[in-house]
Assembly symmetry: D2
Homo-oligomer: 302 residues x 4
């Protein structure tokens, strides 16, 4: 059993999409009205995978995680070195990407990413998550998220460049900024990525995040998803670990109990600077069957 | 020099985004009006990467291309086998993806993907495309595409399940169906993926596609991008190769000369069945710095 | 329980090395005497990982297996294209390899590679083989194999270029050729790789191999390992599968019951042509902690 | 042109194997006599690729290099979680390895790994080293190395646990210990890996290595290869870089000018403790066509 409250069974006994079910067509259509200028912002961190250079390490990431690797299987250098073109003169560049998205780049967590006990969200057996992928609650069930995004620029609200590492955003602070409507995506800015430029050691000294109370409050508002610019939605302690109790662990509160998808490591600095509190939020993870999540480029349409 | 007509210099001497520059905010805002019901369709083929199973080979792909590989670095099986949870009982599933997108999955081509001579689109030196990535015209310049999508259901228009392998869609046929407005995304259905289910040998016996004439016509309409459900926009011959002259090669006509991004290997069967000719088209490739393209999940908002 | 006879417990209750334990220093020293000329032959198939070329598919492999991928993260093309050297003029080439060795290249199977029931060789719990690797019977326990190799050139013995796909080598045929001494490595030539050059379809139509009887006979001779040039030691049927009963499956007979390591997909054509029946056999798998096996380059010192 | 002395042309205008050509059969046979007890030691560092654990980072490596990744595509956990066996009860564990060997694990450098100017060793065009691999001087030309190994336990000779980071071993010190014969492999112990256990920061503060003078002296003795336990044969400075002039860079002296292959990041602590100065040295890199090197498990047969 899981602690109450939760969304188990709410969307049906076989549901694997959680609160994304709230994004009915009428809700999506209504969300599109949040676009007022049509400016499109990418909310993705860059993926730098040139392994024989320092580039990969220049993007914020959790220490110890395997960084992206990007390889060119044919490129302009080959032709400069004498490779013959295809046919009359066609030249091609081709590449491959290796990515472990959790903790290394902008990504969405699937509902199968974390759980406690023997069951995933909605009682699906955790034993269905195996080497060949998660046959329940994998990222492929997301499809595409199109919703109204509500920006919680918490440091902006507090007059700070970024929240301190130990800060856990209380529900009341969110409520001061805005109350989301069912089906909204709460986009929470901590500003923590700006610390990376200043000091990696500081970036790795912890992370600010949402408090359990705030997570529960967002769940009670029936958000379709929660997005943030930190690497772990509930923050991390001084050793880079999440150390809340099972009851208060935000991944469990949101993913496991409420079926609320999480999107982490967004780049929100431009969005915050735009001064918009509502916009169209789009997230389309790769359709990785059985994936625990996916790297992605979320968009804000202003 | 490149054959005329082309878009070199049109968007500035340093431009690396081509006709995506036509997607000004006002154009995007207008495109959003194409959404009438709010239903969201994913246009992505599944990514099946369980390498110790037949699954990877069950997704349409070009023969000989390296298929996606998806690995679980920790999963439910570990816990079933006795692995201890984290802390009081937190359980995690984590994974990695290896993907060479060209020819294996739904993807967007960057402008650096193909060229002739020593220059990429807009005269950028092809020598800038090196092992560490393409420092010109990489996929990271795309950001997010939000545009009006125009569906060209060519086999539907002809009363066929799918086009034959040798079919090259003439401009006149596209024009019969619709004339796109500047900034639109032409979404071309050949129906070829349905052949896969019937016979792999047949799938690999060639591919229908756009004729050079049709490509030029779309370029003349100033489309922001061209998307299709085949693996090569201009089709493939009986040996699985594109054999047009340099003048008529569609990748060169569209990517190289006109800076028109291409999206290939979409899944369009649901979209065609929806009977909608216009919709909101969204494509947000991974922000791979220096990438020749990216796997992605394009969306149609009906 | 496993069927008798077997080597469980023979080398101690915690043993994870099986008959490699027979390679005591005195045995190794004696094995070195098999070298009479000092000529060194590599017994490895080439690893061709250039993914944007047909090269990977030109090496014999089991259909559907993910082929090796080899990427250059910096190469001569970069410098030809204008990349600056390091310091005064140092130039570097660097690369990465992705390899799934089973069925794709010359490799050694660890004892954890196959089993039946809930226990690996010597009763080690199969539940100890998890996502992070095999904590029992992994390939790292092999260290280095230096032994007397005994060549069983079965087609040569029969006056054939290669054995037919359906051939299962009987014990008697091996015995006609040679009787190995304890600690020897039986190197079995089927000649099947030569079929690859002629026809892939034929290569994939099955594989010759050792009969269960022959496997048991080798086990009774206390061989340190068994090596062969086919992709599955006991052969494969017309559908590319091993279909013996559990009792007769050679991987179970050799790996699981007798703790005899297997090395598959060797290139033995040169060795057979050398006309030597005994030689020094060396196999040093990569020390992959928890690996189910390893690609490797076995050597024959004549 | 390259500075004299060098081995360009010495083994023929097309030679790509350098001083490995000295390992004629008679030399190999003679080298085998160095085995006196038959004990076999592995000289490889462990490869730990469990990416969702701290294990990969526990093996000495150069900072910033992409560490090995090892994934199980099917394992005991799957069966514990309910996966059905194959046929009557066959269970399989299968895996994949991703490895960038330079700077991360025990490996051999190919002659194409480093050069200056536009030519590799023996004048082969550096432009032949492209995205699809090095078509000249790739690691596949090595085959198998079987030679007499001569241990230079430099810290042992000096009564130290390990050499200090700034130490560059002079030729005279090597000469005090032993003079290798043509075709020998010089195995140089710096002891630097033992620093890793004590402090990573210290490990990364530089590396001891051979002086240019010592490299030239070894080249003049016509060694078949040089092996060491540090991550860069000539040592590294306080910033983890090799900063010698082109004339004195050891990779250039050995690989580029003399065609002497290098093997780095060996584990030599056991070998040194064995107190043996001569032994049989075996190195069999993976036959990666066009590889800049290969991970491997070198052996010492005592």
């Amino acid at each position: 059993m899981v602690p109450e409250p939760n969304n188990w069974g709410r969307f049906g006994p076989d549901d694997q999409r959680g609160t994304l079910n709230l994004l009915k067509p009428a809700v999506v259509l209504d969300a599109l009205r949040s676009a007022t200028t049509g400016e499109v912002l990418s909310l993705a961190m860059p993926i730098r995978g040139a392994t024989s250079s320092p580039a990969p390490g220049t993007v914020p990431h959790l220490q110890g995680r395997p960084l992206p690797q990007h390889f060119m299987s044919v490129d302009g250098g080959d032709y400069a070195a004498g490779a013959r073109p295809i046919g009359e003169g066609l030249r091609v560049a081709d590449d491959a990407l290796i990515v472990t998205h959790h903790g290394t780049t902008t990504h969405m967590d699937a509902l199968c990413h974390m759980w406690s006990g023997d069951e995933l969200y909605n009682g699906h057996p955790a034993a269905r998550v195996r080497s060949y992928g998660a046959t329940r609650c994998g990222i492929e069930h997301v499809g595409g998220v199109v919703a109204r995004g509500v920006l919680y620029d918490v440091p902006g609200h507090l007059g700070l460049d970024h929240l301190p590492a130990g800060h856990r955003i209380p529900a009341g602070l969110l409520e001061e900024i805005a109350t989301p409507r069912p089906g909204d995506v709460a986009v929470v800015r901590t500003g923590w990525p700006v610390v990376w430029e200043r000091s990696r050691a500081e970036y790795w000294s912890g992370q600010p995040g949402l408090s359990a109370e705030a997570g529960r409050w967002l769940a009670a508002q029936d958000v379709a998803a929660v997005a943030s610019d930190n690497a772990a939605i509930g923050g991390l302690n001084g050793r880079g670990m999440a150390d809340e109790s099972l009851e208060d662990d935000l991944h469990l509160v949101l993913l496991h109990r409420h079926g609320i998808h999480l999107i982490e490591m967004l780049w929100l600095e431009e969005l915050a600077a735009a001064g918009r509190s509502e916009f169209v939020f789009v997230a389309a993870p790769l359709r990785i069957e059985g994936g625990t999540g996916s790297p992605l480029t979320p968009l804000a349409i202003l």
